[in-house]
């Protein structure tokens, strides 16, 4: 039996969101966001603040914490409209990942101290989960937090921290107990990124941007008051965080942004000087990708609308992640193929007048994003992990 969840008047809200975007999204921020280059702190903060002033700083949070109490369907609609209007993608770390954890498991002091500045986009967060030796096997993490009176002393390293270089605070999974099962000794700490002992090293990625970082924690003193929830219960909070937005890992809003961009590229001349849309190779691939997106979106909406039994929900989330990530990559591949030799260039996120040659306006960001999205099937649980989860649902484990 499925239960339909009522989302209110989605159409009216969508119209409201569109009008807001039309009036409030700064054109210079939109121009940068449309390229697909990862937005920096300045653009994220400027746009985040405008959203906050509208009451949409973290619209999926409960109303009591300053959110709008939106459902996942409403949040998805909002993400879509933002992408299509050219709004920059805001970091998920504070509002979409950590925020719900603090709302649900945090102390009232943590809620009072951290939620408002996060909502206002005054503070930025870094997610300290992965370690050099703990990627897919996250529970094997080794960053150690030793209890000393009212504090923990933390030593270790976190890696692949997106936007870590401008994070004010970090939320980290640390090991408070090494004696039992690996999952049982993990705690969830909030760490001041600007405090002593925290060193952030930039990681240059193959898209020629700087978004990723490695963080070294050396004798970092963390008040126990900054531990979220119970000691040793961190793995459960992490699982809640990672699976809280089951359908958003399909990245349907980003797929729609890519589709919009592909349709614009379709007007560009191809090898025969005719618009690409009249080339059968391009038109055929685009048609298939659009059909794939229609199916993906329908499956996401089915998941959002219904309540389904336990195991199926988990496998279904993995199906969405598996399919969504691959669709993103295939769309990116078509964009790269559409621009032909222009794909070889390293374009600036912001066009520099000093450059001797400027690429055509539709080019910057495509190659960079294509290279970055090789990670779409790696981040948030690799494609191999997703297949394991699906298979575990379908078949008994191998002996």
């Amino acid at each position: 039996m499925t239960i339909r969840v009522d989302h209110g008047d989605l159409g009216a809200l969508r119209a409201e969101v569109r009008e807001f975007l039309r009036l409030q999204l700064p054109p210079d921020i939109a121009a940068r966001a449309r390229t697909g280059f990862h937005p920096g702190r300045e653009d994220q903060q400027a746009w985040g603040r405008l959203l906050f002033e509208r009451g949409w700083g973290a619209p999926a949070w409960p109303i009591e914490f300053g959110g709008a109490g939106w459902t996942a369907r409403q949040q998805q609609m909002f993400d879509e409209e933002c992408y299509l209007a050219g709004a920059p993608e805001l970091s998920w770390n504070g509002t979409r990942l950590l925020g719900p954890v603090i709302c649900k498991f945090g102390s009232s002091e943590q809620q009072r101290r951290f939620l408002p500045p996060t909502l206002r986009w005054e503070i930025f967060w870094g997610q300290g989960f992965s370690e050099p030796q703990s990627g897919s096997d996250l529970a094997s993490l080794q960053t150690r937090a030793v209890s000393q009176g009212d504090e923990y002393v933390v030593n270790g390293s976190k890696i692949w921290m997106t936007d870590g270089h401008f994070a004010d605070w970090l939320f980290c999974l640390v090991r408070t107990d090494a004696s039992g099962r690996k999952q049982q000794g993990i705690s969830f700490l909030l760490i001041d990124a600007r405090g002593p002992g925290v060193q952030i090293r930039p990681i240059a990625s193959i898209d020629r941007q700087h978004t990723l970082n490695q963080v070294f924690l050396t004798d970092v003193r963390v008040p126990k008051a900054n531990r979220v929830g119970e000691e040793g219960a961190g793995w459960g909070y992490a699982k809640f965080l990672l699976t809280n937005e089951r359908t958003s890992s399909a990245e349907v809003p980003r797929c729609k942004f890519y589709l919009q961009r592909l349709k614009k590229l379709a007007a560009q001349p191809g090898h025969d000087a005719q618009p690409l849309r009249s080339s059968s190779w391009f038109a055929g691939r685009l048609a298939n990708l659009e059909a794939d997106l229609i199916a993906l979106e329908a499956s996401v909406n089915n998941a959002l609308d219904s309540v389904v039994p336990g195991g199926e929900v988990i496998a279904n989330a993995s199906v969405l992640k598996l399919k969504g990530a691959r669709l993103l990559q295939e769309m990116g591949e078509l964009m790269v193929d559409a621009i032909g030799p222009h794909a070889i260039y390293h374009c600036d996120a912001v066009a520099s007048p000093a450059r001797e040659w400027q690429p055509p306006a539709h080019v910057p960001g495509i190659t960079s994003d294509f290279l970055y999205r090789r990670a779409a099937t790696i981040y948030g649980g690799s494609a191999e992990i997703q297949r394991n989860i699906i298979a575990a649902h379908l078949l008994p484990s191998n002996p």
Partner: protein
């Protein structure tokens, strides 16, 4: 040659200039090693041929050597060796092989959009060129650029030209490419040509041969990249442990590596087809084979490249780790001198009505 090349190319690459014209670069050393003429047999003043060229190109790719080996050694040397002599430039090939003259070949797909093509007009004061050559790898540090142009008044008529990049008649701009190198744009505004090859029919045939030699070189580089990415991935699967096991123990990953290996071996076989194809007498048959090579090997490279990154995980997204840099190079190779789509069409056109 292969092992000495591997040793030499691995040394000091990061501190030497990639520009052939630079005194701090390795170009003269390449010349001393006989590498600039490696695509030519001894009869043409070289030290090898297609096979030797592909062996060296693989090593250059594995080392991610930045020098424009294909653009400034292989392609122009093959052209000059097979084209009729050009007045005033009879010794250009000799000078090229010695590293004294740097000539970069600019290839254009003949049926591309108007941007990026050059036209010529005959005037009382000589041949004048108008238009632009785009996406020319290895242009920085070159003295001459070698290219085709169509007659402005009669686009069906084509010729082969040399432009002197130091004459002040050519606007040269440069843009960084994703693999850490640069591509050049040469703009001609009614500029004089430094040379035009007489007997355009024979010259065009030689240019076609040079293009195919360049494509073969690209295919060899693709194979080198694929081999290196495969090796790194296999080693990584053995070393990396998660969930208490080496990644190499997981069947899904073993199967993936096996698929990569199968593609690699197909690509290796295809390169052999390409080497043999260079000696085909028919221009059309040779073009068909070279395009098939690029098409097949580009597909193998995309698969091996993507899976190399996937099996490594996040580390392969870093600029520091080798796999990502190889992947960037792969993208540039695929998209220059005709992408997969272009070569699918060229292959089809050259295949005619199903004849062999």
């Amino acid at each position: 040659m292969q092992s000495s090349a591997r040793r030499y190319l691995g040394e000091q690459a990061s501190i030497r200039s990639a520009h052939p014209g630079s005194s701090s670069g390795r170009w003269r050393e390449f010349a001393d090693l006989g590498w600039l003429g490696v695509a030519l047999d001894e009869g043409h003043g070289g030290f090898g041929g297609a096979t030797e060229m592909t062996v060296l190109a693989q090593e250059i790719a594995i080392a991610v050597a930045p020098e424009p080996f294909l653009q400034a050694a292989v392609a122009p040397a093959v052209f000059l060796a097979n084209a009729p002599s050009c007045p005033g430039f009879a010794d250009l090939l000799e000078r090229l092989i010695a590293g004294d003259a740097v000539v970069v070949a600019a290839f254009e797909e003949p049926d591309i959009a108007p941007r990026g093509s050059v036209s010529f007009s005959r005037r009382a004061n000589g041949v004048r060129l108008t238009g632009e050559l785009a996406h020319v790898l290895g242009g920085a540090g070159a003295q001459f650029v070698l290219f085709t142009a169509h007659e402005a008044a009669d686009p069906g008529v084509r010729g082969i030209f040399l432009a002197d990049l130091r004459s002040g008649n050519v606007q040269h701009s440069s843009a960084p490419t994703i693999d850490g190198r640069h591509a050049s744009f040469f703009n001609f505004a009614d500029a004089p040509a430094a040379a035009e090859w007489p007997d355009s029919g024979a010259a065009l045939a030689a240019f076609g041969l040079a293009q195919d030699a360049g494509l073969l070189g690209q295919c060899a580089e693709l194979l080198g990249l694929m081999q290196r990415m495969f090796n790194l991935t296999r080693d990584y699967l053995r070393e990396r442990r998660q969930f208490g096991h080496a990644l190499a123990e997981f069947q899904a990953l073993r199967h993936r590596l096996a698929d990569m290996y199968a593609e690699l071996e197909q690509a290796r076989a295809m390169l052999g087809v390409g080497v043999d194809g260079m000696s085909l007498g028919s221009t059309r048959a040779r073009a068909r084979i070279m395009s098939a090579c690029k098409l097949r090997m580009a597909r193998a490279a995309r698969f091996i490249g993507a899976q190399s990154i996937q099996l490594h995980g996040a580390i392969a997204l870093t600029q520091e780790y080798e796999v990502g840099r190889l992947y960037q190079r792969l993208l540039v190779l695929e998209k220059t001198w005709g992408d997969a789509e272009f070569h699918a069409r060229r292959f089809t056109a050259a295949s005619g009505d199903g004849d062999e």
